[in-house]
């Protein structure tokens, strides 16, 4: 277990080397947060003040926007392709020989990275939003804690999905096509582009039963009190179990497929 913790701490520390990049990230996420808030507020402008549309008041929608921006880096909403590079270079052979779980090797590093991204980039972005806009906050200490646990669950579900998408590298050489599809699935189906409940009812009902919801929308629902703590965390845990199972299953196929080039 210790080795996994060490890996996580390494990945966490690594982020501190890129301070300029972190500032640039906070800046970019904040500009988009401000812009999207203006778009949503313009939509609500025609409604009576305090009106709720598809379960969201104007302030809740703005809060949704900023939590969405906060989650971009920790959850890696647009995908990440570190593992596939090691498959292409052949470094994967060494990684698989290491006396530890291949899945755990990458998961622990991703956990460390996510904590770092949350502290250095996610939370500062949310703070910018809270200064500029009237955001809604969890209504009890229990909900505060549940929201952050839910975000942590979101990172794990997201990792499992990204891990599986990277494993495609064992079968195909060029991942750009898969990257585009991954980006759409994670960015749209997760509710990051638009709250899931805003879509027409049949679309909403489908998105609500897919694992992508647990990557962005579910933590926000817990934060805003649209979903009970028990239901939010229960559903998150359910998707962690399912997605981890799928990831390990796919990995067992990939291990048989591994072909290392060169010598």
């Amino acid at each position: 277990m210790r080795i996994y913790l060490e890996l996580a701490i390494r990945a966490f520390r690594q982020l501190f080397a890129y301070q300029a990049a972190m500032l640039a990230g906070i800046f970019t996420n904040s500009i988009f947060g401000i812009m999207l808030s203006a778009v949503y507020l313009a939509l609500y402008h025609s409604q009576a003040s305090g009106a709720s549309v598809a379960g969201f008041t104007a302030n809740q929608t703005v809060t949704y926007t900023w939590i969405g921006q906060m989650l971009i880096a920790p959850v890696m909403v647009f995908g990440s392709w570190e593992i596939i590079k090691t498959i292409r270079t052949g470094a994967v052979a060494m990684d698989m020989l290491k006396p530890m779980s291949y899945f755990g090797y990458w998961l622990s590093q991703d956990m460390g990275r996510a904590v770092g991204h949350m502290l250095l980039r996610g939370l500062p972005t949310l703070i910018v939003g809270s200064i500029l806009f009237d955001l809604v906050y969890p209504d009890s200490p229990a909900r505060w804690v549940a929201s952050f646990i839910s975000i942590w669950f979101a990172v794990i579900v997201s990792f499992c999905f990204r891990f599986m998408m990277n494993l495609w590298g064992f079968w195909v050489l060029d991942h750009r096509g898969i990257a585009g599809i991954t980006m759409t699935l994670m960015g749209v189906f997760s509710g990051h582009l638009l709250p899931i409940s805003w879509y027409p009812d049949p679309v909403r009902d489908v998105l609500n039963v897919l694992p992508f919801r647990a990557m962005v929308m579910l933590p926000i629902e817990v934060w805003l009190g649209q979903t009970s703590i028990v239901e939010g965390l229960g559903l998150g845990a359910f998707w962690i179990v399912v997605m981890t199972g799928l990831a390990l299953w796919l990995q067992s196929f990939a291990e048989q497929k591994v072909v290392v080039q060169g010598g």
Binding site: A24, V39, L43, A54, D174, I181, L193, L194, P200
Partner: protein, 273 residues
């Protein structure tokens, strides 16, 4: 800096290199099509989100679905064309980091043209098609009284938009002559600018409107031309002629960028390894 080729000559050489690169890319046919399809899907989702917004609300700051779809159409067309032309500039930071930019400087072709053709990609065709579709859709639900002036304005808006986005992508490359770590911040202006252009300008905060009018003149390539073509009143109260001046701020912007590129080249120091 060797600048010996004349302009038409440079253009011919650039086209020839671009053709060669394109043929190279076409060798990976499956990947080529998958990129276009996935690019189309991403922007299809963006358009679906717009529809979903108007499924729940009936207007955005007084503009209807058709009006906003029109803005989406012209900005997506301009951005995808600009990105297609300027995609090679993406590789400049990498070339600088590896010291490969040295060889660019000794060739008798403008360094900027070489950067432009260092990579050719048609993946933004997906967005281009999407932009054309949403623009066509807006024509069917907004009643535009077409005149020659309006048709000309549509073309000018798209051309100035393309020029502006190429300029913005050049800014990213210019910055990489000094730093490679904070380049992501420029995304706020390139992708942010094109996102902002997809919505009516008057819904944004004052400082953001000023930023995208007077620093990066995105508003002159989408919002103001749209006011003219859609016959709309300007809630911001700018004089009527502001709708027509787009090419001037865009030309100034591009000149400043060109000057910046020269400064970047002058500042370039090869890597020491």
């Amino acid at each position: 800096m060797a600048d010996s080729a004349s302009l038409p000559q440079e253009f011919r050489i650039a086209l020839r290199i671009a053709g060669i690169r394109l043929r190279g890319q076409m060798a990976y046919r499956a990947s080529f099509w998958m990129q276009i399809v996935s690019n189309f899907i991403i922007h299809f989702a963006e358009v679906m989100a717009l529809f979903a917004m108007f499924y729940r609300f009936d207007n955005m700051g007084g503009w209807t679905l058709g009006d906003v779809a029109f803005l989406h159409g012209i900005s997506m067309l301009a951005f995808s064309l600009g990105d297609t032309i300027a995609v090679g500039l993406d590789s400049v930071p990498g070339q600088i980091r590896l010291g490969e930019f040295d060889s660019v400087l000794i060739r008798p072709l403008s360094s900027w043209v070489q950067a432009i053709v260092s990579e050719v990609s048609l993946r933004h065709l997906g967005q281009l098609i999407q932009g054309a579709l949403i623009l066509a859709f807006s024509f069917t639900i907004v009643d535009i009284e077409w005149t020659v002036a309006k048709a000309a304005m549509l073309i000018v808006a798209i051309i100035t938009g393309v020029a502006l986005y190429i300029g913005l992508f050049t800014v990213v490359a210019i910055l990489s002559f000094w730093t490679v770590n904070s380049i992501e911040a420029v995304n706020a202006f390139t992708y942010g600018g094109s996102d902002l252009a997809q919505f009516p300008l008057h819904i944004f905060q004052r400082w953001m409107r000023s930023l995208f009018m007077f620093v990066i003149p995105v508003a002159f390539t989408a919002y103001f031309p749209a006011l003219f073509i859609l016959d709309k009143d300007d809630p911001l109260g700018f004089p009527h002629w502001v709708r027509f001046i787009g090419p001037i701020p865009v030309a100034i912007f591009c000149l400043v960028v060109a000057w910046g590129w020269r400064q970047g080249i002058r500042h370039y120091r090869s890597t020491g390894s």
